[in-house]
Structure formats: structure tokens, C-alpha cells
Amino acid sequence: MPRRVVVVGGGAAGIGAAGAAKQTDPQAEVTVFTEFEDVGYSPCGIPYVHGREIPTFEQLFLATKQTYEDVGIDIRYETRVNRLDPAAHEIEVEGTGAVGFDSLIVATGFEYADPGVPGSDLDGLHYVKNIRRAIEWDPVLEDAKVAVVVEATPLGLEMVTALAHRGLETHLVDPRPWALADVADPDIMQPVQDSWADMGVKMHFNTPVEAFLGEGKVRAVKTPDEELPADVVVICTHKQPNNRLARDAGIKIGSTGGIIVDQRMHTRTEGVYAAGDCAEIPHGVTKVPIQGLSGSHAYAQGKVAGTTAAGGDRAYNPVDVPWGMVAGKWMIGGVSFGETTANALRFPYVMGVAEGISRARYYPDMKKIRVKLLADPGTHRLLGAQMVGGEGIKERADFLAMAVRTGITIEDLATMENVYSPPIGALNEPISLAAQNALAGLKG
């Protein structure tokens, strides 16, 4: 009898898991249940269609429904799973009844935190998640004049940039003192905020939302200082693990609210695996579990879960979290954590900061880059980094993530060799300059 692998959730983790399971055991019956109409598209690309950088939503689809049929993955669209029963090796599917499994992969993803203020149930509050809802909502932007984005999370940064790019009067409301303040440092975000100001964005920091106002449909956002009229409101609150099914089934949940997994993405319940935004993963430096990572993390975790659920052997590493994005007219990024998080944890660190350039000084389109490195004061190993610049941030973040993982020190970075070629690299690498400054600080 073929192995039955059931996946609940059709996002990056779920689809990654299904593909890996089928690859590991081609005879396995792999079934994916999703509440949504589609799988195999890039939800991360949605803000760029709203912003008109990408012309159509169709371009975000990476595979067709036929693609999955051809490889033998059975996807049940618009199908709700009501209950997981690990003891009986069954799930309860609405309209179908009990469906048995040998291995179950929970990939139920995330949901946005409830803003928790009056009016949160009004029509017109938009959450960026599902591509069909985005396609339905996008025409609203044709006639809209004023948009309010609630909270400067990574998605919030993308939506502010997109809506301003599209020409709307865009307001950003956030209770924290600068954008992305739970992740990024103020000096990293300042150029972004300056560029938003150039684009006409009105920023309201240290400002909580008190209520959404309207009769049936939202017409304004109330803050302690004013009422902001709004034709559209985009809610970009934090991502929380969507774990109702797992909790009800008695699957162990960690302190982040994510499902506890081991390195093979196995939960503490026999035969049940979890991956993606519903699971928690230890941070490589702090060892503290975290959740709500990127699509690439979810996909990679799904691959591990699918492989092991189908009888293979694959393991996942603690995460050092390289990240990067475009915000305003800048690229920002980093790895692990920055000054704000290290200070919050009171994690011991020394710091080096440098400003450099992305190309030879005389070459057209040369851009500034600011690099901040954090290192262990005892071992001098790199702990984290943050950057802002005009280009080359993603590649540096990936490189620095490997530096953190492999225990490279600031001495190593201070003496690193670098590519010098006027159109693509300057004489002095900003990472090396920041490391040299960190060393100079250590020497007093």
C-alpha cells in the first residue's frame, strides 16, 4: 500500500513539502488541502502589482494546476480541514469526512494580528495575503486618492512604497518611533523615511490606531491626534502563526505560538510534521525560537518536512535570517539582529559602522552603502549586521549570513579581499571598513 502523505496548507511550505515528499517517494499518495483557490504563486509579489512595478497578477503564478497533476500531487482547492486527529491518523475534511494519513504535514501559515480596535470589522480594510482578493481589490486603487497603511512591518514598508509609487496620498501609522522598529535600527531606516517624504508619504510614528471609522465601510482612521480620511486602509500588522487546528489536536506549541519542531521538522506528535509560518525555529545566534520568517525559509522547511515525512532524511539548520528589501528609494537588509534587538536582549556586543560606496566613485550611478556590524566582544565572531544602500544589499546580507553561520570574526572581515572593478565594486569594501572600525573601537 502506498504511503499516504497529507499536507494541510498550500503556501510555500505546503507546496515545498508536497513536492519533496513526491520526489522522495514517487509511489506515495500526496494530497494537499488548501482553503484557497490557488497554489503555486508568489504572494510576496502582490505589493509590486499594486504599485504597478509588475503589470499583471498573472505574472506572479509560478506553476499551473496542471503542473501539480502532472507530477502526481493531488491538490484539493477551496477545501477546509476542520480537525486533525493524530491518534487515529486521520483529518476531518469539510464535505468529505475522514481522510487517513501515514504522515501529516501541518503548513497552515499565518494570520495577521487583529488590530484590536473598534471598527476592525468594517469593510474596506485590506489584508495582503490571497491573490484573488488582491485582484478583486486592485481596481479600488484606480479611484482612490488617499491610503492609510497601518504598521510599518516589512509588508507595510512594501505597501507604503507601492501606493506612493502609484500616486496615492499615502499615510503610514505606527505606534513605534520609526519604521520597522522591531527589526531595524533608526539610522538604517532614516534614509528610507527621507525618501518616503520625498515621495509625499506622510508618516505618523509613535501613533497608535484608536479606531477605524465608518458606517459599514471604513472612511477614516482615528489616532490620538486626528482623524485621517482614507479611501483605502491596508492592515500590515504582525504575522501570527495560524495554529488553531494544531492546538485543538494537542500538538505542542512553543512560546512564540509556533509549533515545536525538531531539525527534521517533526513535531512532538508521532507522524506529524510542521513547516513554515506556523512553526518556530531556533535563531542561530541567540538560540531563542522565532517564527514568521520569509517565503524562502518556509519553502526550505517544507522541503525538509516533505522529505522526512516520506521516509527520507533531511535536516534544517537554526536560522541566521538574512533579509533584505526595497523600501522607498533604498535597499535595506541585514542578518541576525541589529543594535535595537541586541540592546533589548542585553546581548553583549561591539559595533562597527562605516559608509562606503557601491562602485568606483567616478562611475555613473554609484550609490552609498551604510554597513553596521555587531560582534561578540569576547570571540570577535560576527553576531549580526544591518545595511542600507542603493544597491548590493541582498548579496552582502547573504554573504554576512554565511559569515555568522561559520563563525567568521571581525578580524577576518577587516582583512577580507574584495572585488574591485569600477562598474560593480569600489576600492574599499564597506563591510571591511565597518569591521576595521569595530576593531578600532575594541582597541580604544
Binding site: D182, N206, S255, G258, Q263
Partner: protein, 76 residues
């Protein structure tokens, strides 16, 4: 909300808020003004900051979670 989720959620929120206040001062921007619990702001945060890093790390490591089931790095 289960105890450890409540503890993590609140400690994270208030430690980050305190750090953002420090950063705001360091970088010369307006500090956050937020309502919140006297316990977390006036007792928990200062006490946490007084503890030695080794003790803080031990407490965090003792909390239930995925980290207790992982090695540092997976074998290749």
C-alpha cells in the same frame, strides 16, 4: 493564552519598547510614548537588565520550544 506564550509576548514587547527608547535617545529622535503595564515597564524590564547575560540565557533556554530539540547545526 498559555503562560509561556504570555511571558514571551509581553517580555518581547516591553524589552523592545525600552530598547527603542534607548535608540531614540542615542539617535536623537522622538521617543515612544505608550501606555502599558507598570509591572512590565517598571519592574520586569529593569530587573531583566540587571541580570547577568548567562542567567538570562539560561532562563530563556529553559523555556519550552523548538530550541530544546535542536543541535547547533545539522550534519551535512
Amino acid at each position: 493564552m498559555p503562560f509561556f506564550e504570555w511571558l514571551r509576548s509581553n517580555s518581547e514587547e516591553y524589552l523592545l519598547e525600552a530598547s527603542q527608547r534607548d535608540m531614540a535617545t542615542r539617535y536623537g529622535i522622538e521617543a515612544p510614548v505608550r501606555d502599558g503595564s507598570v509591572f512590565w515597564r517598571r519592574i520586569f524590564t529593569p530587573v531583566y537588565r540587571l541580570l547577568p547575560w548567562g542567567l538570562r540565557r539560561s532562563i530563556m533556554s529553559a523555556m519550552p520550544g523548538s530550541h530544546r530539540r535542536w543541535m547547533r547545526r545539522a550534519p551535512p
